[in-house]
Symmetry: C2
Subunit: 606 residues, 2 copies
């Protein structure tokens, strides 16, 4: 317990919740790390596609980058509208559910739920890559490093939102500063002619083997840099009042930063003629090219690693909130709605941590392979929520709805296109979506159905009244004449039931008469039933006997109670020294028979 306190801090009262709200600066840090960090791998993804043709094709990254910027603008404008339309949090699940129906809502929700797990796994692995790029000797410990980071993030989030935001703010701003510095110095070097213009092929150079398919594929890959832009619109309730305005401003700031960083990296990579390298990231190569392997290089690598790892934190902000929404609608277990000691939704936080650790271990930290899956899992809910908002405008027709509709229609169309391009051009990587998404949605419905069934059975108004209880029969299994039996019998008598039956189950025929005689001398007033068990089983004969008693009792509306005495040893290991019959018996009766089970503990004193 004290370890828990040390790790996550003292428990907070429910009334302390208000203090945990975010101001704009902190919100930008906590909610943008995912989007901003994507520039560390987005441009690289474009080059990875182009390099399959030839390095001469690298100039295509410039028009493709422009395409990504157009997409970014459309998404930012669309999400700005969602913020004002859903000031209480416009996650894709809520927006799709309200405007398109439950099924599209669940598709969006299921897609995002998995996506946040991928966010954590992919971001932390990429961050670990940045570290091992700088320190190659750590390469073999990649998986362990990544897992440790996930554990640290989980603990941070169990501590609570504000505290993790404070810790998060610095690295995000440091990363922005580092990349601005990199881009500025890089552009300055180019402007002053320190970089040979022969490193790259000029834009427009004809490239043999280039196809529309590859361009689309590179575009889809590049748009993975946009994952995370939805985070702000999901988290509006975490902002200080006026939440929607603050959120909208934060969104614009993030969009601007993202556009600048993305363009800068794409341009520098193109101008320096950088090719993707299995052991050095593109950003790391640009930094080496610009500064050499000096302190500034390590600063850039360090902040990149940090922001990538902290990008995972977006998953930690979003997953538990989405889980609460789904759990309130009874599509996932209700435990996700319970706030922990520090007011965070601990079950969501812990589940997210565990699942991403499993992913990291399963893929041995090679989560680059998951990036396309992750990106498509973002663009499906993007499409659904934009379409949802379109429907809202068409249905409600508020003042000035036509331009709003146009903006969201463009957003929806582009998102849909990107999703389709992923399926068309990267099917080998994204097919799992077609399996797990239906599975998850089916699971949602199963869970919902169960909760509804339970609700029906529990509701007092809709159900038949409880069966009346006119009397009680108590069954007490005894293994000898001891204090434990004495105590349990006393208790049974004090409840003044209509009948008490002591049951003795000997394994040897000789024990029957011997025990009956002993019993009748000790407690002649209590009826003893002896069930000889030649097969040395206690549960089978007792179960049969209980069935008989229960049948007769039910006829008279009598309730059957089985009293099970249980030793409570002073030390844990002592449990090994006692037959676990009580436990087995209780489990069996609880699940198989309709009887009430009373455990009379007998606390051993030494």
């Amino acid at each position: 317990m004290s370890i828990k306190r040390l790790l996550i801090g003292r428990p907070l009262k429910s009334t302390e919740l208000g203090e945990q709200k975010l101001n704009k600066k902190k919100a930008l840090a906590i909610l943008s790390s995912d989007a901003l960090s994507s520039v560390a791998y987005g441009p690289e993804q474009i080059l990875l596609v182009l390099v399959t043709v030839s390095t001469a094709a690298f100039w295509y990254s410039i028009p493709i980058g422009v395409g990504v910027l157009v997409l970014l603008t459309a998404l930012i404008l669309s999400y700005r509208q969602i913020i004002f339309a859903y000031p209480h949090g416009g996650g894709a699940y809520v927006v799709s559910k309200q405007n398109l129906g439950i099924f599209p809502g669940l598709i969006a929700g299921g897609s995002l739920l998995v996506d946040y797990i991928l966010t954590v796994a992919v971001s932390v692995s990429a961050g670990t890559d940045a570290i091992t790029s700088a320190f190659p000797s750590l390469h073999e410990h990649k998986v362990i490093i990544a897992v440790v980071f996930v554990i640290l993030l989980t603990l941070l989030n169990l501590r609570g939102v504000t505290e993790s935001a404070t810790i998060l703010a610095y690295p995000v701003y440091l990363f922005v500063v580092a990349l601005f510095l990199l881009i500025a110095v890089g552009l300055y070097n180019i402007a002053t002619g320190h970089v040979s213009p022969e490193l790259h092929a000029p834009v427009g150079t004809p490239v043999a083997g280039m196809s529309l398919f590859l361009i689309l594929r590179a575009f889809a890959s590049g748009s993975s840099a946009l994952t995370g832009v939805e985070a702000i619109s999901n988290a509006i309730p975490n902002f200080k009042e006026p939440s929607p305005n603050n959120a909208a401003k934060t969104l614009l700031a993030m969009g601007t930063l993202l556009a600048i960083l993305f363009s800068g990296i794409v341009f520098l990579a193109y101008y320096y003629g950088i090719a993707p390298h299995p052991e050095k990231t593109v950003v790391s190569q640009i930094a080496e090219h610009t500064f050499g392997r000096n302190a500034v290089y390590y600063f850039i690598q360090g902040t990149t690693a940090l922001i990538l790892i902290l990008a995972a934190n977006t998953g930690y902000s979003a997953f538990p909130l989405l889980a609460v929404n789904l759990a309130n609608d009874r599509f996932i277990p209700r435990m996700f709605t319970v706030r922990g000691d520090r007011l965070g939704y601990s079950n969501g936080i812990i589940s997210l941590g565990l699942l991403s650790i499993i992913l990291i271990i399963a893929f041995q930290g090679q989560t680059e392979q998951l990036i396309p899956l992750y990106a498509v899992g973002v663009f499906i809910p993007f499409t659904l929520s934009q379409t949802g908002i379109m429907m809202k405008w068409i249905r409600e027709k508020p003042t000035g709805w036509v331009p709003k509709l146009i903006i969201n229609s463009i957003g929806a169309l582009i998102s849909l296109t990107v999703s389709l391009v992923f399926f068309l051009t990267k099917f080998t990587r994204v097919w799992p979506v077609l399996i797990f998404l239906p599975l998850i949605v089916w699971m949602f419905y199963r869970i919902k159905k169960h909760y509804e069934a339970v609700g029906d059975q529990l509701r007092l108004t809709t159900c038949e009244p409880a069966v009346p209880i006119t009397g009680n029969v108590i069954i007490l299994p005894v293994s000898g004449i001891t204090h434990v039996v004495d105590h349990s019998l006393n208790y049974a008598k004090s409840l003044s039931p209509d009948q008490i039956i002591a049951v003795y189950i000997p394994f040897e025929r000789e024990d029957i008469a011997r025990f009956e005689e002993k019993w009748n001398r000790w407690r002649p007033d209590i009826r003893l039933v002896t069930l000889y068990s030649p097969y040395r089983s206690i549960i089978t004969p007792l179960g049969k006997f209980i069935d008989t008693v229960h049948r007769k009792a039910s006829e008279n509306d009598y309730q059957v109670t089985v009293i099970i005495p249980q030793f409570i040893p002073k030390k844990g290991w002592h449990n090994f020294l006692h037959n676990q019959t009580s436990l087995m018996l209780r489990t069996y009766l609880l699940y198989r028979k309709d009887v009430i089970i009373t455990t009379v503990p007998y606390h051993l004193k030494k």
Copy 2:
């Protein structure tokens, strides 16, 4: 359940026990496999020591072999006397305990308990070696093969003694036939001059670097061929009547067979000039030398493998019986005294199987390293039980006790010498005995102490009478107004306690008044206590409340019962969908508070 039936057969009644007794032929098979199989590795152990000097030293195996035969004779004669002195089973534990005291008894018992686990691990690994000598491609699957054999043996033994004896009889006799054939043909070849006498150095050739230390070491190693001779004296109750006579005859037969096989192998190995080889056992080399790699060779390898694996069965016969003796004396958990469905002591059988699998996996099947440890673990109880019998003769002085005393004194002395030689010459291999033996004996005493303490507390005659119960207070935690609560309340009322207190634990302050009002409209007759829990914990406030109630109740000899309603979902996976509060609450109350806990199951119908 039906899988269990398929694997181990239908359950047997306790009265069917008599049918499971052994006749001499079966007993020889079941109880000698350990001792006879030792000739497959005993001679090799001698050569492994001698080869450290030079191959010229191999002639020493002849006098050392003679020494082992003398030791064998002494042991057989000593054990013959033990059989008649302890016709109900004279395991080293019983004999040492009765004649020397509890502490020496526990040393012998603990030593043997560990030794039987080593028997299984070492024999099965050696058998697997014999198989992989013949089929080298299986070498890499050694551990899995060995583990599968242990599982099969465990199942056989769970089926019961007689059935495993029937299966065991064939391989043991086949092995004896195979080795007789090998020795006969080998001797015939030598006699007819088909074997070059230059393969070996003549007996008496001076060898540089030979020392008494090495001779003793080789002797101790060779005496590992004698492990298992005690098995018959431990298992007398398993023999048909007259058990002691049958057992004594079986013992003599076994001793004779063992002497012939051991001498034959040692002599052939010497005459052929065979040197130990890491991938081919000595017996395998002799067989190859005599027959070539033909069908007879494979027959010998096959029966060797089989008998080695079945030698492990000696462990399965002896371990559970020893465990019963120790458990009856309360030195190990009582569950070892319970007969399973097939009348075997299943807990002992299963524990033995599990522990030896752990050893095999931990040593990756390289259990040759364990042979010295195993041998010393046999000779310590040998020494103790012979000394025990000596004491018996001295104390009781039956007719003709002097020659008996002399025989057992020689046995004790030789066993003691062998034990000491092991410590002197193989300390690096046998030191673990000095750690685990004291640990085990300490554990025996701890367990005994606990059982005695429990016995004292339970005994009606020695303890204070049970506290009288003059009335009942029932506490019922409620989470809402549902059928479950209704049903539990009805039950509580039917017990007509002196007081029923419903407890509601809201996490939000607003809930207090709302729920109290609702309750008072629904059940104004039942007292409701509301415990506001700002830290969202159910257990802490409820625990405190129960303490308060309990304190007041105890003053008036009232008993406190907590009624916990529990959902029983129709399907196992549904458990995930319900907060496990009931379970956590019950565990907490059971272990931490002195209250009775009644579980009212609510079986969900869908």
